[in-house]
C-alpha cells in the first residue's frame, strides 16, 4: 500500500511538472505573440523605442566589444597552435573571420547582452509591477504591452545585429593584432585572407542570428519582469529566470539556426 502511494505521488509529481511546463510554454507563446502584434500595430512609442535602443545597444557596446576583441585574439592563438601540428598555420586569418562572424560574434555577443539587458529589463518591469506602475499605465489609457514590451522587442531586434556587426569587426581586429604582432603574419596577407575566404552568407547568417537573439533577450526580460512576483524576492527571481532562460534559449536557437542556414 505504501509502495503504491509513493508510486502515485511520484507519477503525480511528474504529471504536475509536465503540465506546469506546458502552461509556462503556452503563457510565453501568448506573451510573445501579443508583444509582436503590438510591434506592428500603431500607435508606436518612438521616443521610448529610441531610448531602449540606446540602453540596449549603445550601452552594451563596451562589454560586447571587449568580449569580441579578446575572443578574436584567443582564437588566433589557438588556431595557430593547433594548426601548426599539421602545418596549417596559414588558415588562421580565414578561420578567425569565419568563426567570429558565423558563431562567436552572435553567440558570445548575445550571451553578454543577455546577462546585461535581460536582467535589467526584468528588474525594471518587475519593480514597475510591484510598485503598481504597470497598473497606473492602464488607468492612464495606455496599453502596457505597447508602451513597455513592444519598444523593447523592437530595440532588441534592431540593435543586436548592429552590435554584432561591430563585434565581428572588433573580433577580426583582435585576431589581426595577435596574428601580425605576435605570430608575425604579414598584415596585407592577413587582411586579404580574411576578405577572400569570408562570404556574404557568413555575415548575413550571423546578423540574422543576432536579430533572433535580440528578440529572445528582450522577450525573456519582458516576460519575467511583467509576470514578476511580489516583493524583492519576486523581482530577484524574475531577474535570475530572465538571464538563465535567455542564455539557454540563445544556445538552443543557435543550433536550430545553424542547422537551418548551413545544413545541406
Amino acid at each position: 500500500m505504501a509502495v503504491l502511494s509513493a508510486l502515485h505521488g511520484f507519477v503525480a509529481g511528474i504529471g504536475a511538472s509536465v503540465l506546469g511546463l506546458f502552461r509556462a510554454t503556452g503563457a510565453l507563446v501568448l506573451f510573445a505573440g501579443q508583444g509582436l502584434i503590438h510591434c506592428v500595430l500603431p500607435p508606436w512609442y518612438w521616443r521610448e523605442t529610441l531610448r531602449q535602443m540606446v540602453k540596449i545597444g549603445y550601452f552594451s557596446l563596451p562589454v560586447v566589444g571587449l568580449t569580441a576583441l579578446f575572443t578574436g585574439a584567443v582564437l588566433a592563438l589557438q588556431i595557430y597552435i593547433g594548426g601548426s601540428r599539421f602545418n596549417a598555420e596559414g588558415v588562421v586569418a580565414s578561420i578567425v573571420a569565419i568563426g567570429i562572424v558565423r558563431e562567436l560574434g552572435p553567440v558570445l555577443g548575445g550571451l553578454m547582452v543577455a546577462g546585461r539587458v535581460s536582467a535589467a529589463i526584468a528588474a525594471e518591469l518587475g519593480t514597475m509591477r510591484v510598485t503598481e506602475q504597470i497598473d497606473a499605465l492602464t488607468t492612464l489609457s495606455t496599453n502596457p504591452f505597447k508602451y513597455l514590451v513592444a519598444p523593447r522587442l523592437i530595440a532588441g531586434i534592431v540593435t543586436l545585429p548592429i552590435l554584432v556587426a561591430v563585434a565581428d569587426t572588433i573580433g577580426v581586429m583582435g585576431g589581426f593584432l595577435v596574428g601580425v604582432n605576435k605570430l608575425n603574419f604579414n598584415a596585407g596577407t592577413y587582411i586579404s585572407n580574411t576578405v577572400d575566404f569570408l562570404q556574404a552568407g557568413d555575415i548575413i547568417s550571423g546578423l540574422c542570428k543576432a536579430a533572433v537573439f535580440g528578440f529572445i533577450i528582450t522577450l525573456m526580460g519582458c516576460y519575467h519582469g511583467y509576470n514578476s512576483g511580489r516583493g524583492a524576492q519576486g523581482v530577484g527571481n524574475a531577474t535570475t529566470n530572465a538571464v538563465v532562460s535567455a542564455s539557454v534559449l540563445i544556445l538552443a536557437a543557435n543550433y536550430i539556426l545553424t542547422d537551418l542556414f548551413f545544413s545541406t
Binding site: E132, T139, T142
Partner: protein, 251 residues
C-alpha cells in the same frame, strides 16, 4: 437617479482564497464614497474590478450605462478616459520627470509645451511650484510624490477618481494636507470619487458616504454622519479600533 458606478454581486477568488463574496455597491454621481475595512479584506480588489485591472469571477460592474467588466477595445478605452487614480505608493514613472508624469495622458492630445503648461497648472493646484516640474520621482519626498500622483490623477479632469490608501505612510500633518486636497479637488471638479482607506481621519474628511467591507461583502453602507450612531457592530468595532467584536483580530 442612475448610479455612476454600480457593483452587483461581485465575486473574486485567487486560488482557494475567496476575496470578494458578493459585493454590491452603488455610487451616485458627484458622490464621495469611502470604502473602509481591515487589511486584506478586498478593498483594492473592489476598485481594481471597476478599473478592469482585475476581472471578477461572477457579478456585474456598471459605469454609467456601460458594463465595465465586459468592456473591450474602444469601449474600454472610452471608459478608462473617464478614470483617474491615485495609487497607494503614487506609482509615478521613475524614468519620467514630474511634469511628464502629470502630463502623461495629455501628451497624445497636445504638444510638449502645451502639455507642460497644463501639468504645471495641475501641480500648482496640489501645492507644488513649477520648480518641481523637472525633478524626477526619486528626488521627491513621500508627501510630494502623493501630490504629484494626485496632480496626475486629476490632470485630464476625469469624471471618476479612485484613491487607494491616500494617506498611508504620511505623517499626520501631511495626511491632513492630502485629505484636504482630495476633498477640494473632488468638490471643485464635481467628480465621483471612491476612496479606500482604514484611516478614520481620512474617512471623516473625505466621505459623503461610507461602505464597510468585511468577509468579502459590504457589511454596512450609509452617510458618513450616520457612521458613529448606526449601531452596526462591525462599524462600531472598526471606527473605535477595538480588538473585541465580530471582526476577528489575529494575535
Amino acid at each position: 437617479m442612475m448610479p455612476k458606478i454600480a457593483l452587483k454581486d461581485v465575486h473574486k477568488s485567487f486560488g482557494s482564497k475567496h476575496v470578494l463574496r458578493g459585493v454590491t455597491l452603488d455610487v451616485m454621481p458627484a458622490e464621495s464614497m469611502v470604502v473602509i475595512g481591515g487589511s486584506g479584506t478586498g478593498k483594492s480588489i473592489t476598485i481594481k474590478s471597476v478599473l478592469g485591472l482585475v476581472r471578477p469571477d461572477k457579478g456585474e460592474v456598471w459605469v454609467d450605462d456601460i458594463r465595465a467588466d465586459k468592456a473591450r477595445g474602444g469601449q474600454r478605452d472610452s471608459l478608462l478616459d473617464k478614470f483617474g487614480m491615485l495609487f497607494q505608493g503614487a506609482a509615478l514613472f521613475d524614468s519620467l520627470s514630474v511634469w511628464e508624469n502629470v502630463a502623461f495622458r495629455m501628451r497624445r492630445k497636445m504638444d510638449k509645451d502645451e502639455a507642460r503648461e497644463v501639468a504645471i497648472t495641475k501641480l500648482r493646484r496640489v501645492g507644488l511650484g513649477p520648480e518641481n516640474a523637472d525633478l524626477f520621482p526619486g528626488e521627491l519626498s513621500g508627501g510630494m510624490q502623493k501630490r504629484v500622483g494626485l496632480a496626475r490623477a486629476i490632470a485630464d479632469d476625469p469624471e471618476i477618481i479612485f484613491f487607494d490608501e491616500p494617506t498611508t505612510g504620511l505623517d499626520p500633518i501631511m495626511a491632513d494636507v492630502i485629505n484636504a486636497l482630495i476633498r477640494e479637488v473632488v468638490v471643485e471638479m464635481g467628480a465621483t470619487a471612491i476612496t479606500i482607506t482604514h484611516d478614520m481621519t481620512s474617512v471623516r474628511h473625505i466621505a459623503d458616504k461610507v461602505a464597510m467591507l468585511h468577509d468579502g461583502v459590504i457589511q454596512w453602507t450609509g452617510p458618513v454622519n450616520d457612521m458613529e450612531t448606526c449601531g452596526d457592530p462591525y462599524i462600531e468595532q472598526f471606527i473605535h479600533g477595538r480588538a473585541d467584536g465580530p471582526i476577528e483580530a489575529l494575535r
